[in-house]
Amino acid sequence: MDNVVEITDLVTRFGASVVHDGVSLAMRRGEIFALVGGSGCGKSTLLREILLLHAPAAGSIRVFGREVVGLGDEEALPLRRRFGVVFERGALFSSLTVAENVGMVLHEHTALSPRLVAEMAAIKIALTGLPADAGAKYPNELSGGMRKRAALARALALDPELLFLDEPTAGLDPLSASGIDELVRNLRDTLGLSIMMVTHDLDLLWRAADRVAVLGRGHILGVGSMDDLAKLDDPLVHEYFYGPRGRAAREQAWKRSSTLPS
């Protein structure tokens, strides 16, 4: 069972419009897998379907080898404990401090003592690179980048095996965004996570993603490393990677890799 997520012939419809028309893909254990595509191509919907927040019209989604389509809340619980999710806008509980946001998940699902919960929350907050005093703050007192990290700390609370990131760098300044690139890679390397992310950020794709799937016209247009995808003929993929911004990000990535001591 090397594939943590396996999707076969997935079909999704909203009323008359078909969002996914036979999408199939597989994500391997320990890889950073990215879903890209133009706005409205169904990336986020696909993510929601894997997370059991939305039911597809047809097809199969297997997470950790288990079929999740049609799974009830009760049966989904053990599965949900094994993955963490960072939503696009953080979705931190606004009435709780950051430390309480992380601690709440631990309290809910484990029998650890309050002291250990507080310590674990502080470690998770430190792991995401937030300063120690961020734990006592409320989400609305944090900047956008800090909120993303706080949301990540909550997603990591239960030591998930699989992490989902929805637009992890959206709305961040370039400095915070490149901090997220590194954080994503670090987490995979140190905690052995498998990470699936939805993103528009070409820099993040070049620097963090192992494999990328391009969604468009209801299908997967291509899967592979960024270099593989850059060679594809599909006009949509070409446009995506060879548009003015795509070219800049690619040149940036090459420059970086050539100056790195290997």
Binding site: L116, A118, I123, K124, A126, L127, A132, N140
Partner: protein, 380 residues
């Protein structure tokens, strides 16, 4: 004992035999779910008081950040107590995790102590908050009045669409509930009065009782309370949510005074609608009393009406009705003010909505009492 197969984390401490070295064996899954049973007892294990301790971690089958932290914390505590604790046999990939957690975890303090607030300080803070709240409300009333004056000077600036929309939501849509409740109120008053009046043979005076009670007091008050619950809360929730999503700030930046767009139409709509609703509930309330007078006291509608005409003078009707616009202003202003006081989060919207309803009902009743005193002094 084959500890490797157990799902739980296991820790056994063997005290030194004679002058030997103490040993501890860790086994099982040191994961967030595995350590739950071990954690409360870990400090109570028969740890040696001094000397060396070899901790054998060969049999740890799984380790996550929670398990790594528990292990690291225990070792740190022992070392701080003067014991030379050494960890051996941990698989290299798990060792990396332990190091990571140790590096991140050593800097953290335990949860910051929450400063306790004494009783007097709490009372003082509350009093200060309330005083500022009242001052804030008064200045909000002033600002809204200014906006109102400016709008009246240029009636074209009033957003009549929004006013009419609010008239529909707060007035027309409230007709069934206010009508029903006032009808029931009329029934209750007539029913309670009937028994007493019958003893004195004064059946006919039920018309006085129902007419005066409903028109002067109950119908304006009841309607105001229902509208405060229905519409005042809605105003607070709407403005509060807009505050949270920064829509209010957005309005300011595009050069629209939020009061003009959000407060004024609500204020005007409620001041139009509440007197109308009060007239309507006057009617339904008296109808309820009339129905009860017939079934309980045998008064025909005709007799009831004749008596009602004599019992009710115009001033009775007007003293009731003139309260309605005042109540309307209170409800709209409190509702909007509490909406603007919302800060930050979804939680705050709920809190302000509660405060809004409680305060507007409180103020409506207090104002009603003041009206009673004033009318009494004026002999109305």
């Amino acid at each position: 004992m084959n500890a490797v197969e157990t799902a739980q984390a296991v820790l056994e401490v063997v005290p030194p035999a004679g002058a030997g070295v103490a040993r501890a064996t860790c086994a099982g899954q040191w994961t967030i779910h595995g350590i739950a049973e071990l954690e409360p007892h870990i400090d109570a294990k028969p740890w040696p008081a001094t000397g060396s301790l070899f901790v054998d971690a060969t049999q740890i089958s799984a380790l996550d950040t929670a398990g790594a932290w528990l292990l690291h914390r225990t070792l740190t505590r022992l070392r701080a107590g003067g014991i030379d604790a050494q960890l051996t046999g941990l698989r290299p990939e798990l060792g990396a995790l332990l190091e990571l957690v140790a590096a991140r975890g050593d800097g953290i303090g335990t949860a910051p102590a929450v400063a306790r607030v004494g009783m007097f300080e709490a009372i003082g803070r509350k009093a200060w908050d309330d005083a500022r709240n009242i001052a804030g409300f008064l200045s909000f009333v002033g600002e809204s009045f200014q906006v109102l004056l400016r709008a009246l000077a240029q009636p074209r600036r009033i957003r009549w669409r929004a006013v009419l929309h609010n008239v529909q939501l707060a007035g027309f849509d409230a007709l069934p509930i206010t009508g029903l409740l006032s009808f029931l109120m009329g029934i209750v008053i007539a029913y309670q009065g009937a028994d007493q009046l019958r003893r004195f043979g004064a059946n006919i005076f039920v018309a006085d009782l129902v007419g005066i009670a409903m028109l002067r007091e109950l119908s304006p008050l009841l309607t105001a309370i229902i509208v405060a619950g229905r519409s005042g809360s809605a105003f607070t929730a709407q403005i509060g949510t807009m505050k949270v999503t920064e829509e209010i700030d957005a309005l300011r930046t595009v050069g629209i005074v939020p009061q003009e767009l959000l407060v004024l139409p609500k204020l005007l709509a409620l001041m139009i609608v509440l007197p109308l609703l009060t007239v309507y509930t006057d009617v339904t309330g008296v109808l309820g009393g009339m129905l009860m007078a017939r079934t309980q006291l045998g008064l025909t509608f005709q007799v009831f009406f004749d008596r009602l005409k004599e019992a009710i003078v115009l001033s009775t009707y007007l003293t009731g009705l003139c309260k309605a616009p005042v109540f309307a202003a209170i409800i709209a202003l409190v509702g909007c003010y509490q909406g603007f006081r919302t800060a930050g989060s979804a939680d705050s919207v709920g809190r302000q909505t509660t405060i809004s309803v409680v305060q507007s009902i409180f103020l409506v009743i207090v104002t009603d009492a003041i009206f009673s005193i004033v009318f009494n002094l004026l002999d109305l």
